[in-house]
Symmetry: D3
């Protein structure tokens, strides 16, 4: 493959990793998580092009090969269940093999970014467009103020206003589980936020509203019977938008030495079908975009 | 409260239970499940009115009190985590207390109905409107043919045809996670069915399409990378329609001695918001119905 | 049923519970225990009559219905193994159903009362009628002095004197396991007390004498070989007498607004038969009373 | 110590062990049990004198030393919790050290004898003096008929008749927990038998009456609410009488080569005190003997 | 790197794997083991050169790169503890990364080869140069005769004869733990064989002699007190010699299409130092070779 | 047996034990260990002769009986797995029975001696004949300085110098696993020491060299790939030499009242065979001695 000349001077991998951990140290990640530098190539390369993605799916690894990047930052760790082998039989092993064969490094921040001040949960919180106060649900001990798991927001908005602004923020349809006594015009004074799967972190919190990615049926009933309405974005739609916000920040940290791309192919696997399909493009269209 | 005279002669509770177990013996239920007669009142009453519901929420128990029923059949067991006390602090305890205070019996079939021939999974399978063959994913040993967990269907339909007929069957919007290489006109030849949460039963099966109630983000990615498209109905929308089908069947088994009602208040907690709301009724409107 | 007019003004349930927890907070109870308000009726009632019992057996629940009480305080929690259903098949479920059907609340203090200063173990300690000093075996951290599990007593009495006074205190026969070298006239200088089953709390303590409710054969041999004599009262006979002592105390706390009854039907299941029976009454007679 | 000459020719230890295992193979013992030859001396001795005991307490080991026996058969295994050391600090270690220092072998049959046809449970069953039929509660697979755990007896006797005959059979007082609806003249048609601690083996059985050694308060309430009366003998009083019956049987098996003694010092640790004591002998007197 | 032309026509990886599993199916491996094709490159290559090694150490991976092989067969699996990342920090991750970066496949047979008829244990058994009979210690169910774990040999040789022939067979020094009563001229009639760590497989077997790779001090004392002498070869010296025997066999299976090399760099980490060192070569010299 | 008159005045067992615990309190031992006075005879004897041994094997217990000692101090506890019986079937039970039958006490210090300042690890450290600094790897909290598990030494010696001095110190052959980049003349600056089995204590430490008794193949590879050479002595050869050093120390503590012997029969079970055997004596000869 003919490599195009890059106008970026590049950085050593170690330097990029150092900048990433300046933003959110991996020591903030949950104990059960697997974060940080997950793949380091056998042949070290200068990093000139970096691809950001929420999930490192096969369409995304193909995009990375095509765009000739040296580092992928995947919010979700592609290696979660530890590997006993690396073959071509399973898609996660194929992704790992493709990285190592092509000297692509891989870094995953996951729950470290969830906790960071200015991280994923703060991005999701911006959907509430009148924030009186905001704080982590579980502050991270020894970290700067504003760091921690989830967010708790004081506000004063009608439920329907937040639904509308959330749809705009994530640019996708939203599902609502209304509290037993809530109506669209109910006044919301407190909101719990948890990007991704909120069921276990949010369990038992008292808030008028919860915004998260996904939650099970039985967890939903528990909340709606406790006077809490729940808004679901789909798992990765509650996280992905952060990458666009983070991209220029990272470029700046690296002083313009690297090109930072946000994946075109990375998207939530789920689409809510309203009408059947866009006959011309032969694709299913999300209810919201319609 | 003034009790209206009933024109139904009624049955003993034991007789109704016997008929229910004729349809689907509780021995078919999963080991982790809690099924059968869960509440038997201190003061035995003749059963003349029976309420069918998918979930015994507080709106539904209020409907039951208002309609003066003597037996509730709730597909999901309201007692799942065993109770250490029965107070007014938690909605599930309030539901149990309300039943016992008002001499209402409670029966839950759950996974016994999932497995029954002509049960919940067979009802969900009807969404595939061209069935070449159908069989349980895991047949129940010692039970009549057609009994078991999940269903596996052979068919020949385009993906978009099944999406459309599923929307009509459940009367709600549907979410789709397309397999990496699928388009709306992809020909579907095999379908895996699991009402409710399909993640663990369906794990590892080989089918072009899966229809279930809910599934996590990481389970979805696993399927879409293995050439399987997944359709999600929301948990209880994949189950609830069965009640309407079962209601006349039960009336017949009881030879018209009891009135059988299907709950008006029972509905899935989730609504997919398309546009913000129906301003006149002040309610959120599902994308599909729109 | 015609309800007799009560001359007691009554109290709200919450007020009675508050007074009970003033005497012994439920936070004192052991972690494995299930204490506090275990049943709270669907229809709240003013509490005018309270029944105290050691065990909430079926004869006692019948007594409660007959005497038309609104609250039962049962020292032992009738719900210990959590309930997966509430039917008429098992006596503990029948008791729970009877309470809820008749709007009777249920409160159980158990190990919180064991630890209270002036609680069950202090009542049992009064059997030693010369107490030089007394202290809990395991003091409760953060609680007032004299609070904790079990009791340790310094005394100077002959063994036979304590046996005799214990018989009088519990008004029942007593079983004795003499230490290998003890005689009736052995001087007892230290006594370990544990109402109920003393085996695990008392394990390894050094005392001339132990008074408890029940203990296994192999535990007894361990003590008698370590120079400790053991007196067994039968489990509930080591606890029940406290109720008579507590009854006026509770009446006073509630300022006479409620009538406090001690159950007539509550008794230890065991009777020691010496001679066969009282032919006239056709009952077995305890060896002590004879 | 001057050893008296014995008129018994004696046997090798291995021969005696073989005869014992002919009566009840140790393979019949429960998995959790520790049975068979537990101590085999460093210096092998001819066995001329054997001491039978229910519990190998310190008074009994002293009796053994005084009577100069070469083998002790202790129904209960003196080593149950495995030993990490053998010192003079704990009575069970002292017993083991005394055996080994004096070349005394030790054999324990325990649950193997419980199951044997003609063993401990059959001896206890003789207290029911009208046996219509008798069978093990849990037959031992592959063993001769009549072998197994516990016994189930069909009879027709009044409750008070069995109480009286049990007192005579064990020569001690008895405790009775009457079923909620039983009187002394209730007709007993079925009896469950379990020597020792019957709680776990007897759990859930259906019988009018249970005879066992000891049982906890909460187990007793469970039985009395299920129409079963329970008679307690105290643990070892439900077992000990078998030794007197077994002694001549063993003598015969060994063809008179060994002298067989039943311990004088072995007795249940518990005595039920009715009146205080026998002033002359300065001992507590059991309620029954009085 | 300039690749030398190979005169071997080569094979597809799948074909080589098939031949390897013809010799010893991976289904024979122990449950805890991790065997078979562990690394399959992202870019498939024709296999013309194969390197056999006992352990895939860093000297061996360097040899593989230098010799430009496409497949390594490493008896011990280099991935045993599953990997959560693949970086340059740990030697096992470096080995995996080097394989994937250079399109080298990796296959590990381990316990499948131990069990194979004509496998590792049979090779080790050849050290006993008079075999009257030989059979697996634990035959593999459903496999051809002679397949299974360990070997049991009947022979008639003096102990010193076997020691000498074992030294020659493994070409290394040997350690001996003599049974309490054995001398060099003791006649050995039975031998237990277990390549690698024999402690758990050989536990409790009855043999005059055991030959294995390594065993702990406390395991050795157990055997020497049970009349069993143990010969230790060091772990990999009890396995490595098989590779030389297997190499031509594999060449033949592949019909000469691939070149088969046995690693030069693979050796046991341990050397027994006799005198200090070979001053000229500046290396430690094994006691045997001296 | 005719007992020779002893010129030693002797001590009470309790006094000797007290002196031993002055040297190294048993509270220092690891939690999983079984140390202190393990056997205390039924008949107390004055201690005039004490035998020190590393392992209490059957040859050593026979030596003890022959030499008529009253106390054995065995570094390794002969009772490790707790005993359920003490018969003549297993060598460890035979050893215990022999002690108790002959009134021999037994004391085991094990890991308490490993940690002691001046204990087993300090003795092994003396093999490094130029110690710049020395400290425990894991200091014992609350104990005097220099107490703790393992040792860490700073030195400056060539590898071959340490190998030679270790051979002399333990008077046996040594095995060496050279770090991937080490040669005999590599300069060693840091040494980790752990008598016995060093695998778990030494895991992950950073040192140029490790000296221990035994270590598994896979542990060795881990060290040699992390630039650490390992020297193995065989388990008990890394411990035994301490006894000779401790013997006069103990004599002094006991003020000459007891004779202290070091066992003649105690030796490591393993011998490294160099040439076949010493034909005259008919024994295998260690490579080192040759």
């Amino acid at each position: 493959m003919l490599r195009r000349m890059s106008s970026y001077s590049g950085q050593k991998l170690a330097t990029v990793v150092k900048e990433l951990e300046n933003f959110a140290p991996i020591s903030w990640a949950e104990k059960w998580d697997n974060v940080g530098l997950l793949i380091e190539p056998h042949r070290e390369k200068q990093i000139t092009k970096i691809l950001l993605t929420n999930d490192l799916t096969e369409p995304v690894i193909n995009e990375a090969l095509e765009k000739d990047v040296q580092l992928i930052i995947s919010y979700h760790p592609p290696i979660f269940k530890p590997l006993t082998r690396i073959t071509q039989s399973h898609w996660k092993e194929r992704v790992v093999a493709a990285c190592l064969a092509n000297d692509i490094a891989l870094y995953s921040p996951h729950t470290a970014w969830d906790k960071a001040n200015g991280g994923v949960n703060d991005w999701l919180s911006e959907a509430v467009n009148r924030i009186i106060s905001i704080r982590p649900l579980e502050p991270e001990l020894g970290a700067p103020p504003g760091t921690g798991s989830g967010r708790f927001i004081e506000t004063e908005l009608e439920l329907s206003q937040i639904v509308e602004s959330l749809q705009k923020h994530i640019k996708n349809s939203v599902q609502i589980a209304s509290a037993v006594n809530h109506q669209p015009n109910t006044l919301i004074k407190s909101v719990g936020i948890c990007a991704g799967s909120g069921g276990s972190l949010l369990k038992g919190i008292r808030a008028d509203l919860i915004i998260t990615g996904e939650m099970s049926h039985h967890e939903l009933l528990e909340f709606t019977h406790n006077n809490t309405t729940v808004l679901l974005c789909n798992h990765s739609n509650s996280e992905r938008g952060f990458l666009t916000q983070f991209s220029p920040k990272l470029a700046e940290c690296l002083k313009g030495t690297c090109e930072i791309l946000v994946s075109d192919k990375d998207k939530d696997p789920l689409v809510t079908v309203a009408k059947n399909l866009d006959k011309e493009k032969n694709i299913f269209v999300d209810a919201y975009i319609q």
